[in-house]
Each structure stands twice: as structure tokens, then as C-alpha cells.
């Protein structure tokens, strides 16, 4: 087993900030989207993954949900939901793709004619994240896979979602550390997981499973 520095698990707690901005139609959504912070775009493309749902939501992306539900723009909702967050390494890229989709819809003859019913406006929010160590430290890779089975959803969310897209790291923290420790194939396998296609619980189980398949868990 390669020797490497221990891995410290971090977790996060979040507060939701209200921007006071609201949109009633696509034009307003587009206008605000060009002006809000990156934290706001991150919030509306990620917050659903941390929420409990009685039923799996149609779309995890708030822009898509709102377009489909409040504006009855179902085709647009599907297009917005199809924005591949894994294909982007910065929030700026995500924002640009969403804006492109909205612009294209607004250029169509019937684009932008619909307004939401009163009370169903889109409210732009953003989150403030407080990152702190959980106190759990993996001394080696075997110990890492033992610990990963115990960490909370918030810990997983930080190392997998927040670290990569919001903090601009090239991959998730786990893959980065495993590669550093010399476990390139395992690092690649974890990096290849699509966290946006599963719940956090499922993601955790898949990582543990990859560790088991490698004889490390």
C-alpha cells in the first residue's frame, strides 16, 4: 500500500440567502440569471440533492422545475434539466449554458409569452456554506473506505459536489486524494460516477462498493 498524507473529512452547514430578486416569466429569469452570483446558480442547480423528497422530483434543477410547473414550458424544462453539470468545471460555464437555452427559447415566436400565476414566481436564492472538519481522519486507503461508509450526506455533498464545481477543483476530493496515494484506477472509477443521476445515499453505496471490489473495504 502506498503511503500518503491522511485524508481529513469535512462537512458543511448551509444558510440560505434571499436575493429579493424574483421572476414571473422567462425574460425576467434570463435578466436576473445574468446578474446573480455564482453561488445563486450553484444553489438552484444543487439544492434539491440535499432535500428530502417523498417522491423523486421530476427535475433536480430549480430552473427546469419552475419552467415546467409554473410556466408550463415542458420542452424547455427538459432542456434545462439536461444541462450536464459534470461536463462543466466552473459555475460560469453552467450559467452560460442555461442562459443560452433560455435565449434560444425566447427567440422562438411563442417564446416568453407565458407568465406564472401570481404567487408562483421564481425566487432567486443563494447559499452560504460553512465548512468544518468532522473530526474523522482516514490514515490510509483501507481506513478511508471504512470511514466513507459512515459519513453524512453533507460531508459527501461537500467533497463531491461543492469541492469540484464551486471550489473549482478538477475532480472530487476523494478521487484527487486516491490518485495522490497512487490508486489511479480507483480514483478514475470514482470520478466516473455520475452523482447527479443518483441520491447521495446511492452515491455513498457505490463508492463503498468500488472499494470492496478493489479489496480495500
Amino acid at each position: 500500500m502506498n503511503r500518503c498524507a491522511p485524508f481529513s473529512f469535512y462537512t458543511e452547514r448551509r444558510l440560505v440567502l434571499l436575493t429579493g430578486r424574483r421572476a414571473r416569466n422567462l425574460e425576467e429569469l434570463l435578466k436576473h440569471l445574468g446578474e446573480v452570483s455564482g453561488a445563486c446558480v450553484f444553489y438552484h442547480t444543487h439544492q434539491q440533492y440535499l432535500s428530502h423528497h417523498f417522491e423523486r422530483p421530476l427535475f433536480f434543477n430549480d430552473f427546469a422545475s419552475w419552467a415546467g410547473r409554473a410556466l408550463q414550458e415542458r420542452r424547455l424544462a427538459e432542456q434545462l434539466a439536461a444541462v450536464d453539470l459534470l461536463a462543466h468545471t466552473t459555475i460560469r460555464q453552467v450559467r452560460e449554458e442555461v442562459i443560452q437555452i433560455l435565449r434560444a427559447r425566447l427567440e422562438e415566436p411563442d417564446g416568453g409569452v407565458r407568465a406564472c400565476p401570481p404567487g408562483d414566481e421564481f425566487h432567486f436564492c443563494e447559499s452560504q456554506s460553512f465548512i468544518m472538519p468532522t473530526g474523522q481522519v482516514a490514515e490510509d486507503v483501507k481506513n478511508f473506505f471504512a470511514k466513507i461508509a459512515e459519513v453524512s450526506n453533507l460531508c459527501l455533498f461537500f467533497h463531491f459536489f461543492e469541492a469540484r464545481l464551486r471550489l473549482g477543483r478538477p475532480t472530487n476530493d476523494f478521487s484527487q486524494w486516491l490518485a495522490y496515494c497512487g490508486y489511479d484506477r480507483l480514483a478514475w472509477a470514482i470520478d466516473a460516477l455520475d452523482p447527479y443521476a443518483m441520491t447521495l445515499g446511492e452515491l455513498q453505496a457505490r463508492i463503498v462498493q468500488l472499494g470492496q471490489q478493489s479489496g480495500l473495504a
Binding site: T11, R13, R14, L15, V16, L17, L18, T19, G20, R21, S37, G38, A39, H52, F54, E55, G119, E121, H123, C125, E126, S127, Q128, S129, F130, I131, M132, P133, T134, S152, E162, R166, L167
Partner: protein, 418 residues
């Protein structure tokens, strides 16, 4: 009967929360509390009893103290004229048309001047609740500290003159806190979203023995055998008690049932007595309508009444948040609520209850629920889980502690803590 002072001295309860909510929830609280330990959080509001704010503070202060935050609670003083004015402000901020005169603004200013002279501002963070004490922010220039305005009411469509009167005060704060995204305004200060909460260990929400429930029903002459519809709220027009009576009358044509309208008064709500009289008049002649004006500290009785009910109404026309919904959901009761304010967050349509827009809607849903025990059970279980995950005191306390941290890191979207 427990007094406010008794509650505020309660400690050693975190273990009890652990029993109900699991260790992870309490560990999470401690994790955040370690970062704000020994800081002073001073709460200021306008009434020591009655209404959601006083209830939350009664439960929150001991928990914060047990976690190591020095939390305290002060109440501003005001006469009847002041509370008449702030009630008008309250209605106007909710969007109800009120005639507000320059003299009323003078009464507000004069009362707060008086409080500024007598109140000791000792918090590192000073958290003022609702419009009544908002003007105390004038002291910030002199003493500094961090000031937060916590708005519990729906200000999504406020009457312009009242909001424009308050706005200059609000914008002097370091931050504002709202219960719903819809309530936020275009302000120059950060605005946080924090939903209010209920306490699962309070007398109003804790588990009761069946005999305790029976005793309360017997006391008020309520029949245990027939279905019971209930609305618990202050006697306030915005809670639409007359609409609830009208809905009940429609249901009763189809199914046997009784109705309880129960609530207390609050010293800062002078309109309550008049509304109570109107409700009593509307209910007159029907022995199956029980209008109960409950004194302060009737929480056990309210708990028993809700637990005895079949379906719960919260048919508000305007609502800040409507914690009575979470209280009922926690007890696994299906709730029919007006589609306003925070009720929309608590009731997931068809999952934890039903949102309605009319008397007819309320009656139709009540009749459906009375006829379908399985639906009541499923919705009740969902509601309990929804509250457990989103609307309990533990989450609320954690959010306030995070705000204390946030104030030390303004404009930082990601804050690293050791």
C-alpha cells in the same frame, strides 16, 4: 402550570432530543455550537406570551444556553395605543388596507424612544423580532454590535406607507431574516431564509396518555365518538374562523362531525376580543361548535384537543408561517390549510395535507378525509416525517447559530471554520 421563567431555566434536555431525533441531530448542533460558544444572543420582541414568536423563544432560549450560547430575551413595553398602532402595521404589512396616520407613526416613535431609555442592550448579537421593536436599531450607531431583524410575518405585498416607514430602520440592520423566499424584499442588507419551528418536547407537542386527552374532551363537553374538526389559532380575521364555521356547516350536511375553534389572546392583539364575539355569534345555536378562549399556558389542553381531532384546519387568508400546521402534522394529523404564506411550505399537496383557496375547497377536502381513514393515516405519517426533517427547534437553533457565524463573515459564500 409552568411560568416563562421556569421554562427559561430548563436545562439538561439535549439528551431528550437525542432520544426522539437521533444522536446525529444533536451532534450536529454541538458541532456548530462549538463555534459560537460564550457569545451573547439577545432577543427582543413585544410580548412574553401568546403567538408563535413568544412560543419559539420560550423553547429556544434554554436550548441555546445548554449549547453554550448566552441567550437572553427582553420584551419592549408599550401601552394600548402602541399595540393598536403595531396591530395596524401588522395588518398593513400583510397587505390588508389600513388607514395609517402621521399620529400613529408618532406613537410608534415615542414608545420606542421610551424603550431606548430603559432597555439594556447587552448582546453581542441583538435579534429583534417583527416590526414592533424594529426601531430600536437607532441604538446601533452608539453601541455597535451586530443587529438582526427577524421578520416573522408575510411582507410580500405590504402597504407602501407602512413599509416605507419601516424600511429605513430595517436597512440599518446587519441582516434580516424571513420565513419564506416570497417575503424577501429588495434590501441593501443580507437576507436569510429561516423557517420557524416547533418543539417536540413542549407541552403543546409531547406525547400524551389517552386518559389526558379524554379528560380535556370531557372538560369541554366534546363527544369522543364523533369525528372532530379543529382549528387552533388566535381569534384573528386573517385566520378566517368564520370561513371554518362555514366549511364545517357544509361538511355536516354530508357527515356527522363537530368543530372546535380554540385559541388564546395576546396582549399585543387588541382586535382579538371583537373577532371572538363575531365567532361566538356565528356559532350560536349549534351545540357541536365549541368556541374555546384558552388562557395562556393551556398548551397541554391544545395538545390534547389536536390529538383528539380527526382533521385539522388552518384556513388562514394571510399567514406569516402558521406553526399550528406543523404542530398538527407532528401529531400525524392531516391538515387542510389556506394556500398562503408558510402553510405552502408545510403542506405538500396531497402528501402532507391539502391546500385550499375557498370555503368550498376546505369543506370538500374535509369530507374526503373524514370518509377515508387510510388516506388520513398515510398523510399523517408523511406529515410527521416532513416536520421532523424541516420544522423542529433543533434545525431552527442551528440556523440562528449559523447566522451568528455569518455575521462575522459578511459577503463570504464559503466560510472555512477550524
Amino acid at each position: 402550570m409552568a411560568s416563562r421563567a421556569d421554562w427559561l431555566n430548563v436545562s439538561g434536555r439535549l439528551e431528550q432530543y437525542e432520544e426522539i431525533l437521533g444522536r446525529e441531530t444533536v451532534d450536529e448542533l454541538r458541532l456548530v455550537a462549538d463555534r459560537v460558544r460564550d457569545r451573547r444572543l439577545q432577543n427582543i420582541n413585544s410580548t412574553p406570551v401568546g403567538g408563535g414568536v413568544a412560543e419559539i423563544l420560550t423553547r429556544m432560549i434554554p436550548m441555546l444556553n445548554e449549547l453554550g450560547v448566552e441567550a437572553s430575551w427582553d420584551v419592549i413595553k408599550g401601552d394600548q395605543a402602541f399595540f393598536d398602532v403595531t396591530k395596524a402595521f401588522h395588518n398593513a404589512l400583510h397587505g390588508k388596507v389600513e388607514r395609517v396616520t402621521p399620529e400613529m407613526f408618532d406613537v410608534y416613535r415615542a414608545t420606542l424612544e421610551e424603550n431606548l431609555r430603559t432597555m439594556d442592550f447587552n448582546g453581542d448579537v441583538i435579534l429583534l423580532h417583527d416590526p414592533q421593536p424594529a426601531g430600536l436599531i437607532q441604538r446601533k450607531q452608539e453601541i455597535g454590535r451586530r443587529w438582526v431583524w427577524r421578520c416573522h410575518i408575510d411582507v410580500s405585498a405590504p402597504q407602501a406607507d407602512v413599509w416605507e416607514f419601516l424600511r429605513p430602520y430595517v436597512e440599518q440592520y446587519d441582516a434580516a431574516v424571513f420565513s419564506m423566499p416570497e417575503f424577501s424584499q429588495q434590501l441593501s442588507i443580507p437576507q436569510y431564509l429561516v423557517a420557524p419551528s416547533i418543539d417536540p418536547l413542549s407541552d403543546k407537542n409531547k406525547e400524551l396518555e389517552p386518559e389526558q386527552v379524554d379528560r380535556v374532551l370531557e372538560k369541554y363537553g366534546i363527544d369522543r365518538e364523533r369525528p372532530l374538526l379543529i382549528q387552533i389559532s388566535r381569534f384573528d380575521r386573517l385566520k378566517d374562523p368564520l370561513g371554518v364555521i362555514a366549511a364545517y356547516r357544509m361538511v355536516k350536511k354530508r357527515q356527522p362531525c363537530q368543530l372546535v375553534l380554540a385559541g388564546g389572546g395576546a396582549p399585543d392583539d387588541p382586535e382579538g376580543e371583537q373577532v371572538l364575539r363575531e365567532v361566538q355569534e356565528a356559532a350560536a345555536g349549534d351545540p357541536d361548535i365549541h368556541v374555546l378562549l384558552l388562557p395562556p399556558f393551556s398548551d397541554l389542553e391544545i395538545n390534547a384537543l389536536v390529538r383528539a381531532s380527526t382533521v385539522v384546519f388552518q384556513k388562514s387568508l394571510k399567514e406569516g408561517f402558521g406553526l399550528t400546521v406543523s404542530e398538527a402534522l407532528w401529531k400525524r394529523k392531516p391538515v387542510i390549510g389556506g394556500a398562503v404564506g408558510g402553510i405552502k411550505q408545510q403542506i405538500i399537496e396531497g402528501v402532507t395535507g391539502f391546500l385550499v383557496y375557498s370555503v368550498e375547497g376546505a369543506a370538500t377536502r374535509a369530507a374526503q378525509l373524514l370518509a377515508d381513514e387510510q388516506m388520513r393515516r398515510t398523510i399523517g405519517e408523511n406529515g410527521h416525517l416532513h416536520v421532523k426533517q424541516n420544522f423542529l427547534l433543533t434545525r431552527h437553533v442551528k440556523d440562528y447559530m449559523l447566522i451568528m457565524l455569518a455575521l462575522e463573515h459578511p459577503r463570504e459564500h464559503i466560510v472555512y471554520l477550524d
